[in-house]
């Protein structure tokens, strides 16, 4: 069962957020945001003034915090007034602010995506917090954090750009420009290197109706899902452009599902891995297929299918952050079906269910999965903790449950070589920890036993008292019953149970007399 480490009433006015490396806990209030941290307590470390702040976002290396507010205009026909502040987390200093009308900050474009999508500024280049960028009309504004101004003092001009996405690890932006002029200018996907803004790879795409970009979390692969109209424009089929970012010249491989008319319900890369999973299909029970990027064919890496699971009650994919394992989840209409799947062995480890689950989150190490029902629903609020292979460890009910967030871990202090060494010699290392664990669990067992004994003894006290009172009133009860003797139902029933114990079994070969007379 979990152990409470710290709690504080009225700690936040709206929600909380851990910083990406787990160092801070940020809280949001009417006057601004605050961050808390410390060794064993949570001490307030810094305040960031931003009246009416609604949303916050940390930079990946935790150096900066962006806060956002949107003020309702006094004249209802005006647009909202938006304020964004970028704070240095350590000093609390405002490094830069952005003010404007909501129109300036909505992502426009003729793909029909409108409204403010958070975060407005997306951080790029990994944990160095060197660059942040946002989408504007026909531009991508990329800023660097030495001076907090646009790189080369100007935005990257990309006519009609509708979406962009940073590599999680390198300063590379992938962007998508839709088709123009009724097909005269094809759609395209480009990779742009920052800060130089050189286009390092691009591809034209035809008959595109929509496009989604998915980066693998180590920046090794980019999958671009392209939905295309058929010639008659009546139906959509889907293909993928798979970019191998770390290979020379960034080769692009075109890939389609066996049935390219299948609707794509979900796509997810394996964290730190070479595989991806896709939920696809048109019926009430879609299929789930797994592919690897590392199949080799004539010295060339090719994508190849590992397996397809047919007819699953799933609509969401949750890979373990350490890769290798995945939870195939059926949320909303499927009411919380969970399947724990081992992608190395391609087999199901366990199935489970958390009825009405609204959120599913792996812990940062990939050892535990949390499923939660938040106060989106009126009943059944609470969370459950599962092991990575699908064993339910415990459940906690919490009425009016609002938010559950695992604390992120700081990056490993070990070099990659040392990590590999430990992996190889795991048995040796784990023996020592197993012994430690055993000692701890014996202790816990002891505590629990003490608690139970105490409760049982306390209960026996009650029972003894009641028995005494009951005996004293026996005569009175008899009288109430007009002299009827026993209150047999209150006494313990002494049952005679025949217990058979197997003492011995011997086999004897007996001469069978065929002559039976």
């Amino acid at each position: 069962m979990p152990e409470l480490v710290y709690q504080k009433q009225y700690w936040t006015d709206s929600y909380i957020q851990w910083s990406p490396l787990g160092t801070h806990l940020a809280t949001v209030h009417r006057q601004g945001a605050q961050v808390w941290g410390g060794d064993d307590k949570f001490v307030r470390l810094m305040r960031f003034a931003h009246p009416q702040v609604k949303l916050i976002d940390f930079s990946p290396g935790e150096k900066y915090l962006i806060t956002y507010s949107s003020q309702e205009p006094s004249n209802p026909r005006d647009t909202h007034r938006v304020v964004l502040n970028i704070f240095d987390v350590r000093t609390g200093k405002v490094m830069r602010d952005f003010k404007g009308s909501a129109d300036d900050f909505t992502t426009g474009g003729n793909m029909g995506v409108s409204g403010v999508s958070w975060p407005i500024f997306r951080w790029g280049g990994g944990r160095d917090d060197k660059y942040f960028a946002r989408l504007g009309k026909n531009v991508i504004s990329v800023y660097e954090t030495d001076t907090f101004s646009l790189i080369d003092k100007k935005s990257l001009k990309v006519e009609n750009v509708v979406d962009f996405s940073w590599s999680p690890t390198d300063p590379i932006i992938s962007l998508f420009v839709p088709e123009l002029g009724g097909g005269n200018q094809p759609a395209r996907v480009s990779l742009v290197q920052i800060p130089g803004k050189e286009e390092i790879r691009q591809k034209n795409l035809f008959s595109v109706s929509d496009c989604k970009m998915y980066w693998q979390n180590n920046g090794e692969y980019l999958a671009v899902q392209v939905d295309r109209y058929t010639k008659t424009k009546k139906s959509i089929y889907t293909g993928f452009e798979l970019f191998r970012i770390k290979e020379r010249d960034i080769p692009i491989e075109v890939f389609e599902l066996e049935n390219k008319n299948d609707k794509i319900i979900a796509f997810a890369w394996e964290p730190k891995g070479h595989r991806f999973a896709v939920i696809h299909g048109d019926g009430p029970k879609p299929d789930i297929s797994f592919y690897t990027m590392k199949a080799v064919n004539n010295n060339v890496s090719r994508v190849s299918k590992l397996t397809t699971l047919k007819g699953k009650q799933a609509n969401a994919l949750f890979w373990s952050p350490a890769g290798r394992f995945i939870v195939l989840a059926g949320l909303k209409g499927f009411n919380g079906q969970l399947e724990f799947f081992n992608v190395d062995d391609l087999e199901t480890m366990a199935t489970g269910e958390h009825f009405m689950a609204t959120d599913i989150m792996w812990d940062p190490t990939g050892r535990f999965l949390a499923t939660a029902v938040t106060s989106v629903h009126e009943m059944e609020n609470g969370f459950q903790i599962w092991s990575f292979n699908g064993k339910l460890i415990y459940k906690i009910s919490k009425d009016h449950f609002y938010q559950f967030q695992w604390r992120p871990r700081p990056p490993s202090l070990l070099t990659p070589e040392k990590e590999e060494d430990i992996s190889k010699n795991l048995k040796r290392y784990s023996k020592k920890y197993e012994q430690e664990d055993l000692d701890v669990s014996n202790q816990v067992g002891e505590l629990e036993r003490k608690r139970r004994t105490q409760l049982q003894e306390e209960w026996q006290g009650w029972v003894a008292k009641w028995k005494q009172l009951h005996e004293e009133e026996r005569a009175y009860r008899m009288e109430l019953r007009g002299g009827e003797e026993s209150d047999k139902e209150e006494e313990a029933e002494y049952k005679e149970i025949e217990a058979e114990e197997l003492v011995d079994v011997t086999e004897e070969i007996v001469a069978f007399d065929l002559d039976q007379e």
Partner: protein
């Protein structure tokens, strides 16, 4: 668990009661006709016809000769258990709700709801052995409670009457004078309406279930809170096992109040808790709607549940149930249903 499905009621179940010998099960529902079943195999024995409204509760005499029922038709009726004949009718100015027979079966406490300006009451009636002498006269009327009284029962030795209801407060009254003796502590007590109440076999303690999603165990003489069991759903029904240290709790949101349809077929469950350790030991699923009634058989070897779905489900425990080691979070094992 071999669940036996008993479909006889057309409307949601409201109450279940086993007789002392454990061979008969009485069920009440919103459909006016209390029914009696064989407690072993769920076969229906008969129905008691005469009420014109929902029947909220019932009780049966020690020798299973007389049945008393309370109904929304503003009457409580006495019946001959074996023949089904209606023996006597107590008339009230308001719907009758809870009924409970005292030790010796010569007294019954019946509650009435508030109605047309009348406040809820708990009334004591004498039950005569000879029907000719039966009158409608009340020996005692307890009033002064503002919220609906969902359950009123006799305390140990018939000396007290215990009431619980909408105002979330449990009260102990002197059964002769009607004087209020004790009230449950507001801070540790239930925070929302108490829907159900079940006494231990020796009347020494009792269990209350509340819409505040918890059930509480109390000392019947001192009204001290002893245990609290926390669930995730409003509680409609509770019962204490007569033989093991278990309690069973059932509930779910009333059909009228559900804003989201619970599309899980058959997943409303009766939850079993360890009485002393207050920890969940398992659950039995199967109802298609909230559970409104629960009762253990006096022999502790089976229990039945009544649902909003109109079904009574009868479960005989598997041998495993009697050997439950603490702290295994799992459903109690079930074998395929037999209807």
């Amino acid at each position: 668990m071999r669940p036996i499905l008993m479909k006889g009621h057309e409307r949601p179940l409201t109450f279940l009661k086993y007789n002392r010998d454990g061979d008969l099960l009485f069920s009440c529902a919103k459909d006016h006709t209390p029914t009696v079943w064989y407690a072993d195999n769920g076969d229906r024995l008969g129905t008691y016809r005469g009420h014109n409204g929902a029947v909220w509760s019932c009780d049966v005499s020690r020798h299973s000769t007389r049945l008393i029922t309370g109904s929304a038709d503003q009457t409580a009726k006495l019946w001959d258990v074996k023949t089904g004949k209606e023996l006597f009718t107590f008339r009230f100015d308001a719907p009758a709700r809870s009924v409970d027979l005292a030790i010796g079966d010569h007294l019954a406490v019946i509650t009435t709801d508030s109605f047309m300006g009348n406040m809820p009451t708990a009334q004591v009636k004498r039950i005569a052995e000879d029907l000719q002498e039966q009158t409608e006269e009340s020996a005692l009327v307890i009033s002064g409670i503002t919220g609906r009284i969902n359950r009123a029962v006799w305390g140990p030795g018939n000396r007290t009457i215990i009431t619980a209801g909408e105002d979330a407060t449990i009260r102990i009254w002197d059964s002769e004078t009607g004087k209020l003796l004790k009230e449950s502590d507001k801070e540790v007590g239930h925070q929302k309406a108490i829907s159900s109440l079940s006494k231990s076999l020796d009347w020494s303690h009792f269990l209350t279930g509340s819409l505040d999603k918890s059930a509480k165990l109390w000392d019947a003489r001192t009204l001290t809170l002893i245990k609290t069991y926390v669930t995730e759903r409003p509680v409609n029904a509770v019962d204490i096992s007569p033989t093991l240290d278990h309690v069973v709790i059932g509930g779910g949101q009333d059909a009228m109040n559900v804003t989201m349809t619970d599309r899980r077929a058959g997943k409303f469950e009766a939850k079993f808790f360890h009485k002393i350790l207050e920890e969940e030991i398992g659950g039995v699923k199967g109802h298609f709607g909230p559970i409104n009634a629960l009762a253990f058989n006096p022999d502790g070897r089976s229990f039945s549940s009544g649902g909003e779905d109109g079904y009574v489900r009868l479960h005989h425990f598997d041998p495993e149930y009697f050997n439950i080691k603490m702290l295994q979070l799992r459903d109690l094992p079930s074998t395929p249903e037999r209807t």
